[in-house]
């Protein structure tokens, strides 16, 4: 179990590193480079790089939030399932409670995954919109 968690964390780490490298590669290189800070081109790549970094932060935050939510659901249902195991109620009642609880547990896991995905999608839409607006502003200024 431990190794699979480590593997998962390593994959996350690798993914975030790649994303970070991509974002940094778009940053203005400074006075010695081709993109002089303050120039139109530098401002352009700055906005793109900022958007990618924001998306990276949103992805990381979404992953953490999902893990935390799933953990909370597990704890909540673990407690009730354990209580059922050690209760002295008759078998039929216990079985009915158990099945209802497991169905609730599985639904909540699904609901949480769907909510996190929608939330992440919403954040990405906001970032994309900001990027599009920055681009439109630049275009307008260039035409003045």
């Amino acid at each position: 179990m431990k190794s699979s968690i480590e593997e998962l964390m390593n994959n996350y780490n690798l993914l975030f590193q790649q994303w970070l490298t991509l974002s940094q590669s778009l940053l203005p290189p400074g006075p010695a480079g081709a993109n002089v800070p303050g120039s139109e081109e530098a401002s352009d790549v700055g906005a793109i790089s900022r958007a990618l970094l924001q998306a990276l932060a949103a992805a990381a935050s979404s992953s953490l939030s999902y893990s935390y939510s799933v953990q909370s659901i597990l704890y909540k249902h673990q407690a009730s399932l354990l209580a059922l195991n050690f209760g002295d109620e008759d078998t039929k009642r216990r079985r009915a409670l158990l099945i209802d609880d497991i169905r609730g547990f599985l639904r909540e896991i699904g609901d949480t995954a769907s909510r996190e995905a929608r939330s992440f999608q919403h954040q990405l839409a906001l970032i994309t919109e900001q990027l599009a607006q920055a681009e439109a502003r630049q275009r307008d200024e260039a035409h003045k």
Partner: protein, 307 residues
């Protein structure tokens, strides 16, 4: 108009407009239908569905007033809602609603059924060229039809809370989901609407068992017909209560026993509803630009259980 709800949510002007437009519409209808429609639309509505539409809009665009096209959607949702009330009353054989004779009791079943069809047809006409709203109302009609059949087919069956949740989400939940989508055409508050409807349905169930008059109904019909309410779903986990619940013709003593068992489950039902509140608040927090109007709406809905 129920002023406390409306004022707490700060939509008195908008709800007045809905009332006025409904009254004007009734008077513009065919003379044959006017008495029935007047009877059905005499004030007494809580306007919870229009309030859901307005609150959703305000949570997304707080700086703008409620536009005319949204007032029209609110009028249409009231027409569709009243259609469901008329059908429910016929099905439940309810003699009264909100302290007055039901439409079929006053005018007969034929008039009540025809009036309900008339309301839906007029609703679609009012939507004009708002194609997206027409799509949403069509979705609502289909889901409500399926939910009613499902709920009726599953009566007297020993099912779980998850089954109750599914039925409630398709019945009342679908109505509130559509309310949210009418105001938020992007659909990002759809799940919020569904959860609010689920909360409303659960509070209605609990309020009925508590004998609360807050929602204008009683739980007698549900008990008699073996409808799966939230307190029922919790109580029938007990095999003895489950076998009473599934009896085809329960005696008065059986019904009293069931009623008592349902009352015993009220604290657990309230806890369950509090979880739905948390889920609805989370949706509002994540997807609204200003969640405050939605928090207020949740709080007003939660009060309906009378707990």
């Amino acid at each position: 108009m129920n002023l406390s709800f409306v004022d707490n949510l700060n939509f008195r002007r908008e709800v007045s407009l809905v009332e006025t437009q409904l009254a004007e519409w009734v008077e513009s209808c065919d003379k044959e239908m006017i008495p029935e429609l007047r009877w059905q639309f005499i004030s007494g509505s809580k306007y919870f569905r229009p309030l859901t539409i307005f609150s959703t809009y305000r949570s997304l665009i707080p700086e703008l007033p409620i536009p005319d096209w949204l007032i029209r959607c609110a009028v249409v949702i009231e027409l569709f809602h009243n259609m469901t009330l008329v059908i429910d009353d016929i099905l439940d054989k309810s003699p009264e609603r909100r302290g007055r004779a039901t439409l079929h009791q006053k005018f007969g079943e034929l008039d009540a059924l025809m009036a309900s069809g008339y309301m839906v047809a007029e609703g679609y006409r009012m939507l004009g060229t708002d194609v997206q709203a027409i799509e949403l109302f069509s979705e609502l009609m289909k889901r409500l039809g399926v939910a009613e059949c499902l709920q009726w087919r599953l009566r007297r069956q020993v099912l779980g809370v998850e089954d109750w949740r599914h039925i409630a989400a398709e019945d009342t939940g679908s109505m509130f989901e559509i309310c949210a989508c009418l105001a938020d055409r992007s659909g990002r508050l759809r799940t919020f609407g569904g959860l609010l409807g689920l909360l409303y349905h659960g509070c209605d169930d609990v309020g009925d068992v508590r004998g609360s008059a807050a929602l204008g109904g009683g739980g007698v019909e549900d008990l008699r017909d073996g409808i799966l309410t939230l307190p029922a779903a919790l109580a029938i986990r007990d095999p003895e209560i489950g076998s009473l619940f599934s009896k085809e013709s329960p005696s008065l003593e059986d019904l009293q026993h069931l009623s008592k068992a349902f009352q015993m489950q009220l604290p657990e039902a309230e806890r369950y509803l509090d979880q739905v509140v948390s889920q609805a608040r989370k949706e509002a927090e994540l997807f609204a630009n200003d969640p405050e109007p939605l928090y207020a709406l949740i709080a007003e809905t939660r009060k309906l259980s009378g707990g």
